[in-house]
Symmetry: D2
Subunit: 131 residues, 4 copies
């Protein structure tokens, strides 16, 4: 697990994201919504929600020590997050071929309300596994 | 244009994004990639690219003074951005009904290489226009 | 349930899709892969997989008797289906506001292998519920 | 162009899709909306729109004679198509690395109204080009 490159993520650190759990093909991370994370309607910027879930995805995508990078992602925004909220994102691999992995995830707030649903695909340049 | 709520975006300001152009249903913004924007493979975090393009989208979605918020977005990552790169995102509305608007956009770097392609949908709670 | 408009779907009938289960915000449907469903590499056309899962989605989106139509959908293709395979798609609502519903789903084959993962959003023009 | 595998697409033929144009990384196809293409609200099934645009994509993805298959796709539905409408889908490659290609496309009707916007990614198993 120590060779999971996503552990060195500087942007996640800058935002203040914390790792709650990492296991094979799975990660859960947490972030407190700061005042400077807000958009013009005083809710957490979509980019903050995306960044957190993308961080969970990157951790989950690299638990094997290979380097899988996101080639696409989609996010559905369901409820907003507000200043002071503690939001938790988790991502889980649901399929893997030699070079591609697919992941889904979600973000909840401290009341366990679902804020967003997330899907992404990772591409592994130097995969360890056979097709 | 002064009632475009996205102009008050604190997260965009925090990242250092600058507005290059806003016109009816369109916006172009720019960002310099900082060291603390990097992920574990030393390229700009996907969340940074997403945040910039989402900011362009929010500006473009609200040039009418209505309040349209993202309900979903997808991004395709094509090339990475590196520390010191100046990246430009633009977003353009290509359809609008009473309550929904659809937008596409892209991000390029200073060499005009396409880094990402972006699509999003806005929902307008209190639309001014008729269906 | 008899006012679920998706029950009158002619294209689903044309393809030969069968309903296995419908309950509140959920549907499961089945289809046998015919020779004329194949694409140029002799696997089921992406449009066939999409059509089946979109049918499950439409059934799930309208169990309330309201009329919700898809405004966007994304599909991740994981494994191909072949002639003679019996594929099963299910779709489940995971959030609903007054006018919008979000759904996820998947398709499996007779060996329970996941072939595709699906997400979609429905828009309700004349919702019965309050925001 | 004769080794473009998508030319042998049986499902596209079954639906009655016609090729209007194919050139390097680009394709345009056409389809007449039949009565049995309709869904429960008497508009063309989302799966029909998806199938047509996916066909344009497959043709565009394989003009090099390599075999690129869709790994994901997203579609935004903007306006419905009705029985008798003649709809035209086009798809265009906008990036290509060794193993991945990204494409966008749209569908219009005979009045040139945009019905849907489409994005997809192709994976090339045995690419001819270098990374």
């Amino acid at each position: 697990m120590t060779d999971n490159f996503a552990l060195k993520d500087q942007f996640a650190k800058h935002l203040g994201a914390e790792i709650l759990e990492i296991k094979d093909g799975y990660a859960k991370v947490q972030l407190k919504v700061q005042k400077y994370f807000l958009n013009g309607v005083h809710t957490a910027h979509g980019g903050v929600l995306f960044s957190l879930t993308d961080y969970a995805f990157a951790l989950a995508a690299n638990t094997s020590g290979e380097t899988g990078v996101a080639i696409n992602a989609s996010i559905q925004f369901i409820k907003p997050a507000f200043e002071g909220d503690v939001i938790v994102a988790e991502a889980k691999m649901f399929s893997r071929s030699k070079r591609l992995g697919t992941f889904s995830g979600s973000i909840i707030n401290q009341k366990k309300e679902i804020l967003a649903h997330f899907n992404a695909m990772a591409y592994y340049k130097a995969p360890k596994i056979k097709e």
